[in-house]
Symmetry: C2
């Protein structure tokens, strides 16, 4: 049975990484003691090793061993053998480039659709959408494609940020950017605020966490959904 947690962020303000979601992770990873971590997004450019070590410290809290995919000679074999996968945040362009370069995109998709539990945060959630075209990240490297895993039939905007009242900056708001996306693309976009996540279990897909999410559909007025709402009709 498919089981995915697609989270807006690893860390909510004032909290430790993944603390707000540890109960859900205990359940997600209940059948494995070891988690395959994909550190390719390299937040702040840190090394795969350092990033993996940081994540091990977090997973110590739920008694899980973390192994980095970079430690394996064959990343695709590592994916095939994994009993639980976590793709961490950082830069989505760097993540997607490395997933293509290491030939992981198709295998990652296959194993997760077959039932390997998957956690994504931030960039690791963005790639669960149809394309990475609603990332907030800077295009610091050029990936071979913007096409991503398509675990959901829409795009994700993680770290969704509401317009800030009284802001004097003339750059685009997040809402403006997503509306621009819909001038060139038709899939819906789910704006996930920090602290929200989508949980997919078999055929169910629910919004979780304390906050509402905002849904942008092609040529429609954006609307909010309450936590606990099914996202099965967003497509």
């Amino acid at each position: 049975m498919k089981h995915l947690i697609i989270a807006s962020t690893s860390t909510v303000f004032g909290g430790a990484p993944l603390d707000y979601i540890l109960d859900a992770l205990t359940e997600l990873y209940k059948n494995t003691d070891t988690i395959l971590f994909i550190p390719y997004a390299r937040p702040g450019g840190i090394s795969h090793e350092e990033y993996t070590n940081n994540i091990q410290l977090v997973f110590n809290k739920i008694n899980k061993k973390v192994v980095g995919i970079h430690e394996f000679e064959s990343p695709t074999e590592a994916l095939q053998e994994a009993k639980g996968i976590y793709v961490g945040g950082g830069n989505t362009f760097v993540l997607v480039s490395q997933l293509y370069k290491s030939n992981c995109i198709n295998t990652l998709k296959e194993v997760v659709l077959k039932g390997t539990p998957y956690l994504g945060t931030s960039a690791g959630s963005n790639i669960c959408g149809l394309t990475m075209s609603t990332t907030n990240d800077m295009p610091i490297v050029y990936p071979p494609s913007f096409k991503t895993l398509g675990f959901v039939p829409f795009n994700i905007n993680p770290h969704y940020l509401d317009p800030i009242g009284g802001n004097t900056h003339m750059g685009e708001t997040r809402e403006t950017r997503i509306k621009e996306f819909h001038h060139y693309n038709t899939p819906p976009v789910v704006g996930l605020r920090e602290g929200s996540w989508i949980e997919i279990k078999g055929d169910t897909m629910l919004l979780k966490g304390p906050l509402k999410a905002i849904i942008f559909e092609y040529k429609k007025t954006p609307f909010e959904i309450e936590t606990g709402t099914s996202l099965k009709d967003i497509k």
Copy 2:
């Protein structure tokens, strides 16, 4: 003689479009009554026609006629015949895609290096750098390359935004993003705050406007430069 104005934004808070820079534009375009406008970046997804009409209203103030490049059968011929060029802001991915698609990149570079006066704002300034990799825009379309015009031997970050004190949002600051850029790329990045511009006249290249700019060099601590400073050593 080369003459370029590379501006952070078209509009500063509380002002009308280009108002803060009209004197400099009168000088830039002193030898022509007609300006070729490149509306490809389509802010908010507006049409080429509507965008061009909006820009005509602005240029009425300095008695210039605006023609949109989309009105010509051959965009490259339009560029070759132009006596003044303005590339407006919007989405850099859309702009760069269309510049490649319409075969304009090389011709635009050639005519500006030969002396056709050039104004860029926002996305139109970002493309004056070596690559578009320090844009703030959302990757809503996939361009054939991130390589841009290279009128300056560095990259531009328009709408540069200082970190906001007390912000609880966990997304990356602009400074963090530019530092990530330098994990994968070596060229300097000039962060242009709204209201600043770079003016290139022949062999001179100066920071203009009321504000300082921030310079990020590979493996160095970022530093500020005062308005009036030459940028010739940033490379």
